[in-house]
């Protein structure tokens, strides 16, 4: 069903007649095509050279130094120290606290839980002081996760949870919205505009607006509604209680960026020829089968690109964390901001930037491989 036109031609086909048919022969033709390609790339690369080379190069360079932001202090080259400190973490077993008299593990009188020694006894102090991030139990033993920069490691974790949840939800919802908007009904034109409204609201303002909706009293919409349907006492502190923080932010982000996904998927749907659906209908394939055998496979390239850019934005998430959680909880980018602006550690902030860069790169390559997008 899928004609040869929809895939890249093989070498043989190129020789038989590539994009540009020439009577003179292959090598001439290839050269002509390559020349045109390079010419067409000039504007993009010119812009790239002007605005990207120096700032990006500077970030890489600064990440290996102890440079201070907006200061006159001397800058030293420190090698991988920034990275080492940011990424060092360890898992240690916590020894039980032993009662001197009985020789048995101490049990808390009130809670009845076994007591363990404080993490500071087992976490390393050199070359950096490790701080506990979290503890967990496994096979009856208790362990502690410690790291040299506990705020960064938890920001990494926050960002990952945020990215995976919000991108997944946005993709599913975006797909649903795109499929709905792609069908024929009265008012679909207006619907396409409605679809983009959340994306159109200025990000900084939308974060403020949601902060207002999440107010810890019934001034806020969420508490008003929750109380009406009998959940909570109308005073839930969504943004202060740690178990509500990430879900709240994910809800905001899903609302805000589903339109982005939906619009890109909607554009991708236009690439699927209608004849395919007609042929499938003749073959007796139902809607669900059509979706899985035609829509989804042919949507893969568009979906991959949409996913790359969505994930890229989610991994760099800044506004919602900065506005709604301030310094209660960090994303990698808001930790980066804190390090640069408040702590003036430009070297360290740059290293955070490079780590985000590498993570995004890994995700991008993964999408391209898994969804089988051609880059050549």
């Amino acid at each position: 069903m899928r004609g040869p036109s929809l895939r890249r031609p093989s070498y043989i086909e190129i020789c038989k007649g590539g994009i540009f048919v020439s009577k003179k022969g292959m090598s001439d033709l290839a050269k002509q095509e390559e020349k045109l390609a390079l010419k067409l790339l000039i504007p993009a690369f010119l812009i790239l050279i002007i605005i990207a080379v120096y700032p990006l190069g500077q970030v890489f360079y600064a990440s290996f130094t102890d440079k201070k932001f907006a200061g006159t202090e001397e800058t030293n080259f420190v090698g991988f120290k920034n990275y080492d400190k940011l990424l060092s973490f360890t898992i240690k077993e916590l020894p039980p606290k032993i009662d001197d008299e009985t020789g048995k593990q101490v049990v808390d009188q009130e809670t009845g839980k076994k007591v363990y020694k404080s993490p500071i006894y087992v976490l390393p102090r050199k070359p950096y002081l490790y701080r506990p991030i979290n503890t967990f139990k496994l096979f009856g033993n208790k362990y502690v996760i410690g790291s040299a920069d506990s705020k960064f490691i938890s920001s990494l974790w926050n960002t990952m949870v945020f990215t995976v949840c919000s991108v997944l939800l946005e993709t599913l919802l975006g797909l649903l919205v795109a499929l709905v908007v792609n069908s024929e009904f009265k008012g679909r034109g207006a619907m396409r505009a409605v679809m983009l409204v959340p994306w159109a609201v200025i990000t900084v303002v939308s974060a403020k607006m949601w902060e207002w909706m999440f107010e810890p009293s019934r001034i806020g919409l969420m508490n008003t509604i929750f109380e009406k349907i009998g959940l909570g006492n109308g005073n839930i502190a969504f943004l202060s209680m740690s178990k509500f923080q990430l879900p709240s932010l994910i809800a905001v982000d899903v609302w805000k960026t589903t339109p982005f996904m939906a619009l890109l998927i909607l554009a991708g749907l236009q690439l699927i020829p209608n004849e395919l659906y007609e042929a499938a209908r003749v073959d007796g394939a139902n809607k669900v089968k059509q979706f899985f055998s035609i829509t989804l496979p042919l949507l893969k390239p568009s979906l991959a690109v949409a996913l790359i850019f969505r994930t890229l934005d989610a991994l760099r998430v800044f506004d919602v964390f900065q506005v709604m959680l301030a310094q209660k909880r960090y994303s990698m980018a808001s930790y980066n901001y804190f390090q640069l602006i408040s702590a003036r550690n430009m070297g360290k902030a740059s290293a955070v930037g490079v780590i985000i860069f590498i993570l995004i790169f890994v995700f991008a390559v993964m999408y391209i491989r898994v969804l089988g997008v051609e880059t050549e």
Partner: protein, 288 residues
């Protein structure tokens, strides 16, 4: 795709899903609109009211002064003007450079295609804060004014986006169209301009709209580059400097009023261009 005509049950279900989606997408915006029509005392009522009401009598009572205040504020109008220029130029430049690059990357054969794609993507993989100091140095060295600085630096996130999306579109276009155009005597560039561009209208409009909104909403770069040139402030920066005519602290009502007002031009823009989102690739063009 007239799938819903046949079956009334399916049709009802479809409209139900549609309505739920509309409510989900629009309700928070409605809440902003609702808040923009409330005074300080109405905003702090508990429980929050779904339409502005008088705190004592509970009668419906709209407070229009937030809107009056933002339009009386010269920096708001100026911000709309600046944002329009910046976002329009950014979009056009990103579409122009992006579609050229995408044609090469999606349809032409040359060495180094994969590295080129990744290098272009790499432009946008750093958090904005990290590259800000470097960018500021570049802007100063080139001695650009604030408006131009924003247009150029916004390429950092719009150009990779337009290039990648358009490349994926060009790649899917049938090669036969280009071949037949060439046989008819069109130069490669004519083929690009007269055949390919119209066919990729959905992608151009989509990426154009998304880039426009991204530029319209950008805050951090705008804040930095207009710090000296106050007249060049764009909308998000202007709003963040609202000091409030009535409010004691943050003028929340005015901020919401401004948010509602500046969303309208974007919605109008989408309404104008939306038809093109689902045009484009016509089946007939391939068969021709």
């Amino acid at each position: 795709m007239n799938k819903f005509r046949e079956n009334p049950v399916k049709r009802t279900l479809f409209y139900l899903v549609l309505i739920i989606i509309v409510i989900y997408l629009l309700f928070p915006f409605y809440w902003a609109f609702n808040s923009s029509l409330k005074s300080e005392s109405q905003l702090s009522m508990t429980p929050a009211t779904f339409v502005p009401r008088d705190p004592q009598t509970k009668e419906v009572d709209f407070f229009w002064k937030n809107y009056k205040a933002i339009f009386a504020n010269g920096s708001f109008i100026r911000g709309i003007y600046n944002s329009t220029i910046v976002a329009t130029c950014t979009t056009l430049l990103a579409l122009l450079a992006g579609s050229f690059a995408a044609f090469a990357l999606g349809k032409l054969r040359f060495r180094g295609k994969t590295p080129s794609l990744y290098i272009i993507l790499a432009m946008t993989m750093f958090p904005q804060v990290t590259v800000l100091t470097g960018l500021y140095a570049v802007i100063n060295a080139l001695n650009m004014d604030a408006i131009l600085s924003m247009i150029i630096t916004y390429m950092l996130f719009t150009l990779p986006f337009t290039t990648w999306v358009l490349t994926s579109f060009f790649r899917e276009l049938p090669i036969e169209i280009m071949q037949s155009a060439q046989v008819d005597g069109a130069t490669p560039f004519q083929t690009f301009r007269m055949i390919l561009l119209p066919l990729t209208a959905p992608a151009l409009v989509t990426t154009g709209l998304l880039s426009f909104i991204a530029a319209w909403n950008e805050y951090l770069f705008a804040l930095t580059f207009t710090s000296i040139d106050i007249k060049a402030r764009t909308i998000p920066v202007a709003i963040s400097y609202f000091s409030g005519q009535f409010a004691r602290q943050e003028p929340f009502g005015e901020i919401m009023a401004a948010a509602v007002v500046v969303t309208i031009p974007v919605v109008l823009l989408v309404l104008i261009f939306q038809r093109r989102i689902v045009a484009g690739l016509t089946a007939g063009a391939v068969k021709g």
